[in-house]
């Protein structure tokens, strides 16, 4: 049998767009984290005493030892250090900033886990691991993690 890859005449292509509307129930812990961020500009974590680890974002159970953490809130600093980073160099509709911008992992003081966020106020060439940064909060709330607008060097 011979297959011709050249002849594509009358080969129909169906164009579709999947509609997948959805919600996300943040749960009690996720909700409390966002509310504290929004209303008090505070970053909250939870501490596992057994593993001596502070998790941010918070979680209901320690995934290592299964200890219940939902009452073990700790208030963390709005300052921290960059533990790693990358520079986003392309533009697309879903991205939160125009390229180039810095996306970094930031470990706030008092936490054991870093979380990702945008770093501004510094040239993309000058960013480095270990750099001290502080949180800058959004002027208008979106009820999301973007209520923390970005971090900038201390």
């Amino acid at each position: 049998m011979e297959i011709s890859y050249e002849d594509k005449k009358d080969c129909k292509v169906m164009t579709g767009k999947m509609a997948l509307p959805n919600h996300y129930f943040a749960g009690r812990l996720g909700s409390k984290f966002i509310i504290a961020l929004r209303d008090e500009n505070k970053i909250l974590g939870v501490k596992c005493e057994k593993c001596d680890k502070v998790f941010v974002p918070p979680r209901e159970y320690c995934e290592r030892c299964m200890s219940k953490l939902d009452e073990c809130w700790v208030e963390l600093s709005n300052e921290g250090v960059i533990t790693n980073y990358t520079v986003v160099n392309y533009n697309d509709k879903h991205l939160p900033r125009r390229a180039p911008y810095i996306l970094a992992l930031i470990k706030v003081d008092g936490a054991d886990t870093p979380f990702p966020h945008i770093v501004e106020g510094i040239d993309v060439e000058d960013v480095e691991v270990g750099m001290k940064v502080k949180a800058v909060f959004a002027e208008e709330t979106t009820n999301t993690i973007r209520d923390l607008d970005h971090f900038e060097p201390v």
Binding site: P21, G27, Y61, M66
Partner: protein, 400 residues
């Protein structure tokens, strides 16, 4: 059928309650609730688990790689984990896979997790994408179909068929009312049947809203172990005797007017043949069936139990599917009561196993339960059928 390399027992079962929405938990937290119940039930810790199999419906919560995402709650950190997603059959496929993984000797203790948070997604939107974009996607009606209702009314007359479907629905609700975890517990009475037949909103043809399954949130977890470990770890392991999975093509090609053998019938015929089950109604003490609607539940009882003509309707009319009948169907209330889809087909063997252990709770069958049947359903009549046993005393069938 190749002989099993070694026997596999169910040693732990955990379920959340089922409800239309769970604002207080995110997905990983909901999974974690069921994981903790299962570990408690088995009286073991995460350290005893060698491998995790995880499943839910593709696209339903709009989460890509939920197995990875849920590891915050599943306890899969540092363990082998597989994701299985086979539509409605997912929950049953998870148990089959866990059984295969243990029976093969690859792992001694496997934890299977089925979950769904239907409130977070759009069920029919997800299901509609199953259909072929060229021929069917613009025409089909998701999971809703009236074909069975029409066929049953043709075969048994409109009045008897409608009455039987409604009796089945009310029976399921009566069972659900006993089950503290069931999602929909209406408290229906048989004297409401005529009213419901006329007033419940029509979805497609004679499939009415009251006939149809719920959309639920919830998770189910089962822990399976090798015979040696199961006997050591658990006082009342339930044994997985055999299971069969039957899939078919997405489109229904009916040649002429002759119906092809239904997947459920094919699955039952093959499974019973190789296990020497001559009369399933006599043999089994409980049947937990994946019944997405009352019409399907009743019709499929005929297919799964290899019944002829109106035998299934007679059994229903005579109360033989009731909790104190000859073969109780869905003491849990079944799928019309609770339907967290990725977990739904796992609830069937889970609830059946609890009946065998004798600790199913208020929906426990009073007479002795030794042999259980559980089914899963998904896609275009995909079928999974599983046999569970209280004791390890069945006879292997030669050339079975």
């Amino acid at each position: 059928m190749a002989k099993k390399n070694r026997n596999v027992g169910i040693i732990g079962i955990g379920q959340t309650e089922y409800s239309s929405h769970k604002e207080h938990q995110n997905q990983a937290e909901m999974v974690n609730e069921a994981v903790r119940y299962a570990l408690e039930d088995a009286n073991i810790t995460l350290d005893d688990i060698d491998c995790v199999v995880h499943g839910n419906m593709e696209l339903f919560e709009m989460v890509f790689q939920p197995d990875m995402w849920h590891s915050l709650g599943s306890g899969a950190y540092g363990k082998d984990q597989f994701r299985i997603t086979t539509g409605g059959t997912t929950g049953a496929s998870l148990v089959c896979a866990a059984d295969n993984l243990v029976a093969s000797g690859m792992y001694d203790v496997v934890m299977a997790i089925g979950m769904e948070k239907l409130q977070e997604g759009h069920t029919t939107g997800g299901i509609t994408n199953m259909a072929d974009p060229l021929w069917f996607r613009h025409l089909q009606t998701g999971a809703l179909t009236a074909t069975t209702a029409t066929m049953m009314m043709e075969e048994f007359g409109e009045e008897r068929a409608k009455k039987a479907a409604m009796k089945y629905r009310i029976l399921m609700d009566k069972h659900a009312c006993l089950n503290p975890r069931a999602h929909r517990r209406f408290g229906l009475e048989y004297d409401q049947a005529d009213d419901l037949m006329n007033t419940s909103p029509q979805l497609v043809g004679e499939l009415r809203l009251i006939h149809m399954c719920s959309q639920s949130d919830g998770a189910c977890v089962m822990i399976l172990a090798s015979e040696k470990k199961a006997k050591k770890m658990c006082k009342t392991p339930v044994w997985i005797r055999d299971h069969i999975t039957v899939h078919r093509e997405e489109t229904f090609n009916n040649f002429g007017i002759e119906m092809p053998e239904m997947t459920h019938h094919y699955a039952a015929r093959k499974l019973f043949e190789r296990n020497g089950i001559k009369d399933p109604v006599e043999y089994f003490d409980v049947f937990e069936m994946y019944d997405p609607s009352a019409w399907w539940g009743l019709d499929w009882a005929r297919e799964f139990l290899l019944l002829k003509d109106d035998e299934h309707i007679k059994l229903l009319e005579d109360g033989e599917f009731d909790l104190d009948g000859k073969l109780p169907i869905n003491p849990s209330g079944g799928v019309t009561a609770s339907n967290p889809i990725g977990a739904t087909a796992m609830l069937r063997p889970a609830e059946a196993a609890m009946q065998l252990r004798g600790d199913a709770g208020p929906q426990q069958i009073k007479k002795k339960v030794k042999h259980a049947l559980a089914s899963g359903f998904g896609g275009t009549l995909w079928s999974v059928l599983m046999m569970l046993e209280k004791d390890l005393d069945w006879q292997e069938v030669e050339n079975g």
